[in-house]
C-alpha cells in the first residue's frame, strides 16, 4: 500500500505539468489574438463558400449581402468570436482534452483524411519506434560500458570516454545526422539518405521489415551516438561512487565472490540514480528525435512539426503536436518514476 503514496504524488505533479502546458498553449493562442485570427479566417472561408451557393438563389445584391452578414453573425456566435478569448477558454480546453483536435489546413494523413487526430495518430507509432529503439540501445550500451569504466577509473580509456561524453553534450544531434548522411549515404552510398522505406516499398512482409531496418539504421545511430556519451559518463560516475561505499567493502569482507558484489551490492544500489539519469536524458532524446526525424525524413510526429511549420503553416497541427509531445513526455516520465519506486525501497515509506 505504501508503494502507492509516492507514486500518486508523482502522478499528480506530472498531471499538473500536463495541464500547465495545456494552459500555456491555450492562453498563448488567445493572448496573441492567434485563435481569433484563425477562427476569423475559418469563418471567412465558410462565408466564401456560402456566398457562391447563396448567390444562386438570391439575385438581389443587397439582399445577398444582408443574408451573408446575418450568416456571419451566426457563425461568430457559434465560434464564440463575439466574446473575449477568456470566455472561450473552458470550451477550448475541453475540446483538446477530449482529443477533438480540429482539422489541418493543408497537411493530410496517408489515407487522405484532413483530421488532425488521424494525421498524428498515423505517425505516432513511427516516432515511438524510433525513440524506444534508440533509448533501449543507449541504455544498454551506457550500462555495459559505464560499468566497465567504473572498474578502471582514471585509466586512459576512462579519460578518453569522459572527454567524448563532454563533447557529445555539445554536439547537435541533428547535425551528426547530417554528417552521417553526407558520409555514409551520399559519399559512400552505403545507406539510404532518408525516408522510412525505399520507393517503391517492398511488398513482402519480411522484406518490408528489412527495408525498414535499413532505413532506421542511420537515424537510430545518430540518436545513440550523441546520447550514449553522457549516459556512459553518468553510469560510470554513479557506479564509481557506489563502489566506494562502505556496504561494498563489507560485502567483500563477508567473503562474497566479486561477481555477486558487483551485481547485488554495486549495480543494484546504483540502479535508482541511474534510472534518474535516464529520466533526465529523456527530454534531450525527445527533442533530439524531433530534429532527427526532420533530417532523415522519417514519417513521425517530429517530421510533422517540420512540415507544419514549413508548409502553409498549419496551426492546428502544431498545437496538437505540442500537446501530444507533452503527453508523451509525461507518460514516459511516469513510467520511469514507477520503475524508480520499485527499485529504491527508501522512497516507499517516505512521507
Amino acid at each position: 500500500m505504501s508503494l502507492l503514496r509516492p507514486l500518486v504524488a508523482r502522478a499528480i505533479t506530472l498531471a499538473a505539468v500536463f495541464l500547465a502546458v495545456l494552459l500555456i498553449l491555450v492562453v498563448a493562442l488567445g493572448l496573441t489574438g492567434f485563435s481569433e485570427r484563425v477562427l476569423a479566417a475559418t469563418v471567412g472561408e465558410q462565408l466564401r463558400i456560402e456566398r457562391a451557393t447563396l448567390a444562386q438563389t438570391i439575385r438581389d445584391p443587397e439582399e445577398l449581402e444582408r443574408a451573408l452578414e446575418a450568416r456571419r453573425r451566426e457563425l461568430y456566435t457559434f465560434y464564440g468570436l463575439d466574446r473575449p478569448w477568456t470566455a472561450r477558454l473552458p470550451q477550448t480546453l475541453l475540446r483538446v482534452l477530449s482529443l477533438d483536435l480540429g482539422e489541418a489546413r493543408t497537411l493530410r494523413s496517408f489515407k487522405g483524411s484532413n483530421r488532425v487526430a488521424d494525421i498524428i495518430l498515423e505517425r505516432l507509432p513511427n516516432s515511438v519506434l524510433l525513440l524506444t529503439t534508440a533509448l533501449v540501445i543507449t541504455a544498454a550500451i551506457g550500462l555495459a560500458v559505464g560499468v566497465i569504466l567504473a572498474t578502471r577509473p582514471g585509466s586512459r580509456l576512462d579519460q578518453a570516454l569522459s572527454g567524448l561524453a563532454a563533447v557529445s553534450h555539445a554536439l547537435p544531434t541533428w547535425w551528426v545526422g547530417i554528417l552521417l548522411i553526407l558520409i555514409l549515404a551520399v559519399r559512400l552510398r552505403l545507406f539510404p539518405s532518408g525516408g522510412m522505406y525505399s520507393t517503391p516499398p517492398p511488398t513482402e512482409p519480411h522484406l518490408r521489415v528489412l527495408d525498414l531496418c535499413l532505413h532506421a539504421l542511420l537515424p537510430v545511430l545518430t540518436l545513440v551516438l550523441v546520447n550514449v556519451g553522457p549516459y556512459i559518463y553518468v553510469v560510470r560516475t554513479i557506479t564509481l561512487n557506489v563502489a566506494r561505499e562502505d556496504h561494498v567493502a563489507m560485502a567483500r569482507a563477508k567473503g562474497l565472490p566479486e561477481s555477486r558484489v558487483r551485481s547485488h551490492h554495486i549495480l543494484r544500489v546504483a540502479a535508482p540514480p541511474i534510472v534518474t539519469g535516464l529520466v533526465l536524458g529523456l527530454a534531450g532524446t525527445l527533442s533530439g528525435s524531433i530534429l532527427v526525424e526532420t533530417v532523415f525524413h522519417w514519417q513521425g510526429m517530429g517530421r510533422l512539426y517540420y512540415e507544419a511549420v514549413l508548409g502553409t503553416p498549419d496551426e492546428a497541427v502544431i498545437v496538437a503536436l505540442t500537446f501530444l509531445y507533452t503527453l508523451l513526455y509525461v507518460v514516459a516520465r511516469l513510467i520511469l518514476e514507477i520503475l524508480y519506486v520499485f527499485l529504491d525501497p527508501r522512497v516507499r515509506y517516505a512521507d
Binding site: V17, S287, Y325
Partner: protein, 478 residues
C-alpha cells in the same frame, strides 16, 4: 577569495586550460565581429541578394584546391576607382582600366560579370568598351555600353548608376555572345550557332575551339590574359567612379559560398557573437533566477518554499523544444523571445539543487551562529550562503551555455529562427532545406555544426576542469 581558488584549480587541468583558451579565442573573434560588422548585417547584407550577386553559387572554399590534381578556377575580382591610364584622344579624354590576370587552370571561369557605377557627365554619356586579350595574341571586344543620355527635364551634371550600379553578366549577354560568334568565325574560321554557344561563352573565351563531329569543342587555353576597359568621355570632368570586373571562380574564399552565393565565412563569423550572446544570456539569467529562487526557497521555508518547489517541479518537467516551437510559431520568431523562453524553462534544475544545499547548510552551525548575531535574511542569503554555493553555480552556468546554443540552433533548423539575424542554425537550415546535403555541399553544412560543437566543447571543457574544484566543496557541505 573562493573565486581565485576556483580559477587556480581550473588552470591545473588540461580540460580547464583548453576550455579557457578556446573561450578567449571566441571572445576575441566576437569582439572583432562586433567592431567590424554593422548591426543590421542580417537584413542589409545577408538577406539582400544584390550584395552577393558577384559571387559564384555553391562554391567550395579556395583551399580545397590543395588536394586537387588540377586546381579549380579561383574567384577573381578586379575593382578600380581610378584608371590605369588616361589618354587624350581627338574626341576627348579616355580612361583605360587594365586588369591583367594569369589563368593557369584547365577550365574557364564560371562566369564573367561587369559592374559600372557612379557615372557623371556634362553633355554626353561616355562610351564604355570591354575587351579581352588572350595569351595566344588574339583579342576581342566583349561588350560595349553607353549609359542613358539626358532625359527631358534633366539638367547637367547628369548622374547615372550612383544609387544602383549597373551589373551585366557578360556570359549570358546577347551582344557578348554575338561578339564571340564573330571572333570564332574571324580568327578560327568556325561558324558556331548561338545555341551551341549557350552556356559555353566562358569556355570559348578562355579556350581554343576544335571541331568535334557536328559540334565544336573548346580546349582550355591557360596563360596570361588581360581585361581592358576603355571609357571614352566627351568632356573633361566627366567621371566613371567604379569599374568592377569579376571572373567567377569555382572555388571561393575561406569557407565557400552557399547556393545564393553568400560568403559563408562572413555568415559564420557573424554567427559567433550571436551564439555567444544567446548562450551567455540564457545561462546568466536562468542561473540568476534559479539561484535566487533556490536561496529563497531553502532559507524562507514554509509556504514560500512549497510554492517555489511545486513551481520548479512543474516547469522542470515541461519538454522544452515542443513548447519553444509552438510559442515561436504563434508569436513570431525573435532572438530575444528565444532567449526569454529558454530562460523561462531552464531555471528549475538550479533551484532544486541550491535549495537542498541551503537546507544542508541551515542544518549546520554556521548559519545559526550568524543568525544569532542578528543578520537580516537577505544578508545571510547573499553574503554567507551564496559564496559557498557559488562554485557550483558556476559549474551549472557553464553547463547551460551549450544547451542554450543547441536549443536555438535546433529551432532555427526547423525554420523558426529569427530571420533578421543569421545564426549558425539558420545556415544549416538553408543548407538542408535546399538539398545541399544530398548533393554533397559539405562546406555548407559541416562548418556551422563544427562551430556550434566547438563553442559547446569550450564550455564543456570548462565544466570538466571545474569538476575537481567543486567536488571537494560539495563533500564539505554535505
Amino acid at each position: 577569495m573562493r573565486l581565485r581558488e576556483t580559477w587556480r584549480g581550473l588552470w591545473q587541468s588540461w580540460a580547464g586550460k583548453g576550455g579557457v583558451g578556446l573561450l578567449v579565442l571566441f571572445l576575441a573573434a566576437a569582439i572583432y565581429v562586433l567592431v567590424t560588422y554593422p548591426a543590421d548585417f542580417g537584413s542589409r547584407w545577408w538577406s539582400n541578394p544584390a550584395a552577393w550577386a558577384d559571387n559564384p553559387k555553391a562554391a567550395p572554399p579556395a583551399w580545397t584546391n590543395l588536394w586537387r590534381r588540377e586546381p579549380w578556377v579561383k574567384h577573381l575580382v578586379f575593382e578600380a576607382r581610378a584608371p590605369s591610364q588616361v589618354l587624350e584622344t581627338a574626341n576627348g579624354p579616355m580612361s583605360v582600366y587594365r586588369f591583367p590576370l594569369s589563368h593557369p587552370y584547365p577550365g574557364p571561369p564560371t562566369f564573367l560579370a561587369l559592374t559600372l557605377g557612379e557615372v557623371t557627365y556634362a553633355r554626353q554619356p561616355p562610351l564604355i568598351t570591354v575587351s579581352l586579350g588572350r595569351p595566344d595574341g588574339r583579342s576581342l571586344r566583349l561588350y560595349r555600353h553607353m549609359p542613358p543620355g539626358p532625359r527631358p527635364g534633366e539638367g547637367p551634371p547628369f548622374r547615372r548608376y550612383h544609387e544602383s550600379p549597373l551589373r551585366v553578366r557578360l556570359s549570358t549577354e546577347a551582344t557578348t555572345v554575338a561578339a564571340v560568334q564573330q571572333f570564332l568565325a574571324a580568327e578560327f574560321g568556325l561558324q558556331v550557332s548561338e545555341r551551341e554557344l549557350l552556356g559555353r561563352v566562358d569556355q570559348a573565351l578562355f579556350g581554343v575551339p576544335e571541331r568535334e563531329g557536328e559540334g565544336v569543342r573548346f580546349r582550355s587555353l591557360p596563360g596570361d590574359y588581360e581585361v581592358v576597359v576603355q571609357v571614352s568621355f566627351s568632356d573633361r570632368g566627366d567621371e566613371l567612379g567604379l569599374v568592377r570586373f569579376v571572373l567567377g571562380g569555382a572555388v571561393f574564399g575561406v569557407m565557400g559560398t552557399d547556393d545564393l552565393g553568400r560568403d559563408l565565412a562572413q555568415g559564420l563569423l557573424f554567427g559567433l557573437p550571436v551564439a555567444l550572446a544567446i548562450g551567455l544570456g540564457a545561462a546568466t539569467f536562468s542561473t540568476a533566477i534559479g539561484a535566487t529562487l533556490g536561496l529563497l526557497s531553502g532559507y524562507a521555508g514554509g509556504r514560500t518554499d512549497l510554492l517555489i518547489q511545486r513551481l520548479a517541479d512543474i516547469v522542470a518537467n515541461v519538454p522544452l523544444l515542443p513548447l519553444l516551437i509552438f510559442l515561436l510559431f504563434i508569436v513570431g520568431s525573435n532572438l530575444f523571445l528565444i532567449i526569454l523562453i529558454l530562460v523561462a524553462f531552464s531555471w528549475p534544475g538550479l533551484t532544486i539543487l541550491v535549495r537542498s544545499m541551503v537546507l544542508q547548510m541551515r542544518a549546520g552551525q554556521l548559519v545559526e551562529a550568524i543568525q544569532s548575531l542578528g543578520a537580516s535574511r537577505w544578508r545571510i542569503m547573499f553574503r554567507h550562503i551564496l559564496p559557498q554555493v557559488a562554485p557550483y553555480l558556476l559549474a551549472q552556468w557553464v553547463f547551460t551555455v551549450p544547451s542554450a546554443i543547441l536549443a536555438e540552433a535546433g529551432v532555427s533548423f526547423l525554420g523558426l529562427g529569427d530571420p533578421s539575424i543569421p545564426t549558425w542554425g539558420q545556415i544549416l537550415e538553408q543548407g538542408f532545406r535546399t538539398g545541399g546535403v544530398y548533393v554533397g555541399y559539405w562546406w555548407w553544412v559541416v562548418p556551422p555544426g563544427i562551430l556550434i560543437a566547438l563553442t559547446g566543447v569550450a564550455f564543456m571543457l570548462l565544466a570538466l576542469g571545474l569538476e575537481p574544484v567543486i567536488n571537494p566543496r560539495l563533500r564539505r557541505i554535505g
